[in-house]
Amino acid sequence: MIKVNQLSKTFKKMPVLNNISTEINKKEVVAVIGPSGSGKSTFLRCLNGLEQPTEGQVYIDGTQLNEQNVTQIREKTGMVFQHFHLFPHMTVLQNITFAPMETHGKSKKEAEENAMKLLETVGLSDKANSYPNQLSGGQKQRVAIARALAMHPEIMLFDEPTSALDPEMVKEVLDVMKQLASTGMTMVIVTHEMAFAREVADRIIFLDQGAVVEETTPIQFFNTPSTERAQSFLQKVL
């Protein structure tokens, strides 16, 4: 479903990603972990064309992502950000229906019906007419997930979806993501929630200084990490 081939990215001569190759299969849940500044966000953003690789290629469903087809390919991906990025001047319902109506040409009725269904799955039916500033962080992030799902993506990308949340709100967001994983959604999740990664991910990609240092099953990664860098990282975070 996603194929990354020798991907490198430099920002103004500073190397951020260094020769990354991997494949992510349909229905797979991959957790990307690593220290701050290791390039996790940049890697994720290369997968939906928010960043262009300096070298190497990203293929989605066999098609190479390039500047011409980026909108088409992006149709297949949804993204959830650390800081939600809800549209503050729109209600929850408008946040969710805006893109389906404006980019997919859905009717208001159809878009709203779908939005209400999604709000129900994230447990926020009663917030449809609230504005983002009336919601808690966890609620905002669940709306952001619903907003991304409203575009019917085949792949969901999460960039530290719980890092900006108060501890007591982390679970409600992770629960929604777990539920999403159980429906067979292909997911790439950048996260610092080790317990969650261990429980939900099929595979762990450990990035350090822009390179894939370890790529393995959660069991192996958490129980018997093979590299020293992964060991010392786990010592710090567990």
Partner: protein, 215 residues
């Protein structure tokens, strides 16, 4: 003071002309200003340069000179004769667009980058995202600055009297010349401009309060 009273309606009629002038110039200047701001922020280097030069020119020369330049020079170098009112609207729109474009550019840049990213990730086309997501938030941040620009426009509009547009200012001058009653003929415009500015200010703070929902 009495000899001024029959002339009061004549001066008051200038309100409509001044308002029409300010509204037209303001709206055209605002729309143009958005265009210039987008050119400054856009990908095209050439457009950005042109927009920058445009702003530099209109901010770097006196408005009154721009006005008389347009009014007197265009008929000399083109086959068109321009009405004073139209010349005024052209000069004031172009001039305010230069200032407004800077305000709007700052406003757009003040919107959280994440908003652009979220719009992009949702595949919302650039101009639609600008119009429906970015600009509404930008305008909220820059409302005081825009209000200021509107007040400047209203006050500076008195300059069009020099090319013979019969706005409040010009009518005051005509009455002053007719009656030799300078105090009366010029105090009325003074009060009118002041009241109009006050009303604009009050309207501005009302809009600002209404828009402060999401902070």
């Amino acid at each position: 003071m009495e000899e001024i009273i029959p002339s009061i309606p004549f001066i008051l009629e200038g309100i409509l002309i001044t308002l029409k002038f300010v509204l037209l110039s303001g709206v055209i200047g605002f729309i143009l200003g958005i265009g210039v701001a987008l050119a400054k922020l856009g990908k095209s280097k050439a457009l950005g340069k042109i927009a920058g030069a445009y702003t530099a020119f209109f901010r770097g020369t006196p408005l009154i000179l721009q006005l008389v330049y347009i009014y007197y020079v265009i008929p000399q170098v083109t086959p068109w004769n321009i009405e004073p009112f139209v010349a005024g609207v052209i000069a004031f729109s172009l001039n305010s667009a230069a200032y407004i474009s800077e305000i709007i550019r700052a406003g757009i840049q003040s919107v959280d980058k994440g908003q652009f990213e979220a719009a992009k990730a949702l595949n919302i086309p650039y101009f639609k995202a600008m119009r429906k997501i970015i600009l509404p938030q930008a305008i909220k941040h820059i409302l005081p600055a825009l209000m200021n620009e509107g007040i400047m426009l209203l006050k500076e509009s008195a300059v069009i009297s020099v090319i013979g547009v019969s706005d409040i200012m010009r009518r005051g001058q005509i009455v002053a010349a007719d009656t030799y009653n300078y105090i009366g003929a010029l105090t009325i415009p003074l009060i009118l401009y002041f009241l109009m500015v006050r009303m604009l200010e009050m309207y501005g703070s009302r809009v600002e309060r209404r828009l402060s929902y999401s902070d």
